[in-house]
């Protein structure tokens, strides 16, 4: 595929269209088609989309051009479907863009999506409205691909809300049970709050830049003259878009919907709440890195919010007993990690972690799914245990994923988490915009400031170093907690003796092969996935060829994050740039080991230990168990107050406007009528008197006129 197709690369359209077709077929005719056909239509659509994705990425790879100084750049492939909304200066087309960043995302989404589709064929086998489930799942894939491949913010927004609706439909899939429907509604509304901020951010961007097209915006924010226009709105627009991302990727303010979203079927949680939807926020910030890096205060807030969420969610995960909730809070925590990376400017690390997290978290969810499937929808870990022998494949794959997420070396989690922690401690945001507001132009700080920084001597960015340290420490603590609660979950489910009641214990069975194959594939990916980003202190000693492959992701995404990299100083502390990285690696390995050991100690060696810790912890335990009372707080703060406002305004509407004003005038006219009624009393003399009064008044008028004038 030569560059000929660079302009109208229609495969992008096909990637997006395939799941849509699957959704339409299943949606309209699903109920009449036999079960097998429904499976094949759904998985087939996903497979086609995956195939097209591979073809497109291959085309992109072939599109490589090597610049004179050895810089590889893969450019981008675009496809414009049709003109969506043109109005005045707004020209929004349905257009798709494939560049290295979205290539990675497309592969993750379609790949993991395909595996999950195959898995859910087995998982949902006995559910009678399976066709509806697959229709929603395909629709979700369509929306996610729109989000990932969108060329302008509008198409991303279509995907953004589409994904929100599909998660609403999928979480509330078993709508018969009101509690699950409520979870779906909560997810949708919290996402909608995020979208509200997203829209406002978009307005700001359009107001100043005049366009939403990423290519044009990137172009605009990199050339000196136009960057000055974006500088002032970088903070407000960035913050608003970040708030939108917190809604979608479940960060501090708007994460409340994710734990409840476990009400949906497990493959849904795997797909949506592990691999694809929740990563949308991270992807968007990476996509618009050139806007976010303009303002260091913005980057600092993102980093801190990410770190806080990571730590905060990890603490809650410690005490959860429902296996899916543990994984849910773990997802929130890992996403916190990614936002931390993005906040620190380590975009490549964030995408790397996003990819590895997709693999092992999807695996964890699917593993949990097959456990639940085996134990007939029993989700409470306290009733599980000793499944090692009963469900060997699930156990093995679950173990691999747990090791990966804990950050044990040689597994993918270690590499990506290490890169993030190293980025947290080593990156520093150079562009001090405070003084630069409108005063200096882009060349000034690209020419003067950055070289000074690259030259080694540290710029006066001291006061922002604290942010790095805070984020790093939170990161380390979260890593420890992650290792601990993941192995706690592992030991409680697979080790010890089975605490399930007799009836379920009797027929615990291993899941059918259609469910196990995806598990195995994902396990393999969780293991292999890490080797695209081997730590630098190893790769520096490698020859040219293997070094490229071991740092594949970094090289692959270098061009996309070119602008943001210009703003970062790498390896600020320590002489050789990678000395620090080795230090961080060692620390994180130690931390992971400690976590695993503690978990082993508490849940395998002396099972009664957690109970004792619990009463001693007492109040702290309750606080964690009730999730810091955040849900109740939101409920009273927002939901109750809005309803109260509603009642008050309804009263106001009925009694003040309708009652007083409208009703009032009607009342007055009626009474005025009453007064006149007395005139016609029927008494002759009264009439005569009125006539007399009339004449007198007339005389007055005439005489008055005469005398007056």
């Amino acid at each position: 595929m030569e560059a000929l197709y660079a302009e109208q690369f229609y495969f992008l359209g096909l990637i997006v269209l395939a799941p849509l077709l699957g959704a339409i077929i299943n949606g309209l005719f699903g109920s009449k088609l036999p079960k097998r056909v429904v499976d094949w239509v759904a998985c087939g659509a996903m497979a086609m989309s995956f195939a097209f994705a591979l073809i497109s990425v291959q085309a992109l790879i072939n599109n490589m051009t090597v610049s004179p100084d050895g810089e590889r750049s893969w450019g981008m492939l675009t496809y414009t479907a049709y003109q969506w909304i043109f109005s005045g200066s707004l020209e929004a087309e349905i257009a798709f863009l494939l560049d290295p960043l979205s290539a990675v995302m497309v592969l993750v989404v379609t790949g993991v999506g395909l595996l999950i589709h195959i898995y859910s064929a087995g998982y949902m086998a006995e559910d009678e409205s399976k066709w509806r489930y697959f229709a929603y799942l395909n629709l979700f894939a369509f929306a996610m691909l729109m989000l990932v491949l969108g060329k302008n913010m509008l198409v991303t927004f279509i995907g953004w809300e589409g994904v929100g609706v599909c998660s609403y439909l999928l979480i509330g899939f078993w709508f018969g049970d009101d509690e699950k429907a409520a979870a779906g509604q909560k997810a949708f509304l919290v996402n909608r709050v995020g979208d509200f901020c997203f829209i406002l951010g978009m307005f700001l961007v359009f107001y100043t830049a005049g366009t939403w097209d990423y290519v044009a915006l990137a172009e605009m924010s990199t050339t000196a003259a136009t960057a000055a226009t974006l500088l002032p709105i970088a903070l407000p627009a960035g913050l608003l878009i970040f708030l939108g991302c917190t809604g979608k990727s479940a960060q501090i303010p708007l994460y409340v919907w994710l734990p409840d979203a476990m009400a949906g079927p497990t493959p849904v949680s795997a797909l949506i709440h592990a691999a694809t939807m929740v990563t949308a926020g991270v992807f968007l910030i990476c996509r618009m890195n050139w806007l976010f890096t303009l303002d260091h205060r913005l980057m600092a807030t993102i980093a801190i919010v990410g770190a806080l969420t990571a730590f905060f969610a990890a603490t809650i995960a410690l005490v959860q007993t429902d296996i899916k909730r543990v994984l849910a809070y773990s997802t929130v925590s890992q996403l916190g990690f990614m936002f931390m990376a993005v906040g620190m400017g380590a975009f490549v690390a964030a995408i790397f972690h996003l990819m590895t997290h997709a693999f092992f978290k999807a695996l964890l969810f699917l593993g949990a799914g097959s456990v639940i499937h085996g134990m007939h929808h029993e989700q409470d870990m306290r009733k599980m245990g000793g499944l090692r022998k009963l469900m060997p494949y699930t156990w093995a794959t679950f173990l691999v994923a747990t090791i990966a997420i804990a950050g044990v070396p040689f597994f993918s989690g270690f590499f990506s988490k290490d890169l993030i922690l190293w980025g947290a401690i080593s990156n520093a945001h150079v562009l001090t915009v405070d003084g630069a507001m409108g005063m200096i132009t882009m060349e000034h700080f690209t020419s003067a400031l950055v070289p000074a920084a690259a030259g080694g001597e540290a710029l006066d960015i001291g006061r922002w170093a604290i942010v790095n340290w805070v984020v790093f420490l939170l990161g380390i603590m979260t890593a420890f907690l992650t290792a601990f609660y993941m192995f706690r979950c592992y030991f409680m489910t697979f080790h010890g003796e089975c605490r399930a009641d007799e009836e379920t214990k009797a027929h615990i069975h291993e899941s059918p092969p259609s469910m196990l194959v995806p598990l195995v594939v994902l396990a393999f990916l969780s293991f292999v996935g890490g080797y695209v980003g081997i730590p630098h202190f190893i790769t520096t000693h490698m020859p040219e060829g293997p070094q490229f492959w071991s740092l594949l992701l970094e090289n692959w995404l270098a061009e996309v994050f070119l602008v943001s990299d210009a703003y970062r100083v790498v390896g600020r502390f320590g002489a050789s740039p990678y000395g620090l990285e080795t230090l961080v690696a060692v620390v994180s390995i130690a931390i992971a080991g400690a976590g695993i050991g503690l978990a082993y100690l508490m849940y395998v060696k002396s099972p009664e230990l957690p109970a004792r810790v619990k009463e001693r912890a007492g109040k702290l335990y309750d606080l964690l168990w009730n999730k810091y009372f955040v849900d109740e707080g939101y409920d009273t703060a927002f939901v109750r107050s809005t309803l109260k406002l509603g009642e008050v305004s309804y009263w106001f509407d009925r009694y003040i406007i309708a009652g007083l004003l409208v009703g009032g005038t009607a009342f007055m006219t009626k009474n005025f009528g009453q007064v006149l009624r007395h005139l016609q009393g029927g008494n002759v003399q009264r009439y005569a008197t009125y006539i007399l009064i009339g004449t007198v008044l007339i005389l007055f008028a005439i005489l008055g006129g005469a005398t007056g004038s």
Binding site: Q685, R686, T689, V696, L699
Partner: protein, 254 residues
Amino acid sequence: MGVEPLFFWIFAIGAIVTSLSVVVVRNPLYCALALVVDFFFFAGLYVLLSAHFLAVVQVLVYGGAIMVLFLFIIMLLNLRGDELGQMRFQLHTALAITAGVVLFFIAGGAILSATAPMDGEPPVEGTLVVQDDGSEVRVQEVRTSIPGLYLALDEQTLEEKYLEQIASWERGTSRPSDGKYPRFNPERTFEVPPSMQFDPEAASVVPGRSGLYGTFQPISALLVNRFVVPFELTALLLLAAIIGAVIIAKRRVT
């Protein structure tokens, strides 16, 4: 002349008092009697205005005929003023009284302004007339804004002016009636019919007062000459009234 004002005030106050009593007194019988007395006072006033014939007719028609009718009805229905207690205060009675009083003041104002001498013009001194008993009387011929209206005239000048008027009729140069009788062609001369030929000296109507104005003779002449149509119509009206009254009041024998 000096006596006349006194009589006027007596009759005027008498008339007002009796008419008030007609309205105020509860018992209809006393009202009727008050009304009779009131008619007599009116008759007196007519005499002062030298409308001798009408004074008599007033007494005859009103006093005699109409009041008798009222008394007859009151007797027939033996009304005893049973509506004694009902004269409680009603809004519209208050309204009526105030409106009436206001109307009276308006009328009074209008009258005073109309009959006041034309402002700026001193009252024209009347011609000096020697009464037959030798006292001169200055006739105030005060002209008002209404042409041809004299404010105050004593008997003597009244007669002279009336005779002049009759004379003018004879001469055909009847006083410009200022359109009073538009239908009459002013140029057409109007010869006085023989019946109206008076012999001033022979017409001594009132013993000791010779005067033609207001007496029966000229009025009857006018009635049968110029106002003969209304005269006959009144006759017709009276006939209709009599028959009507009879039919309405007849007891239905059903």
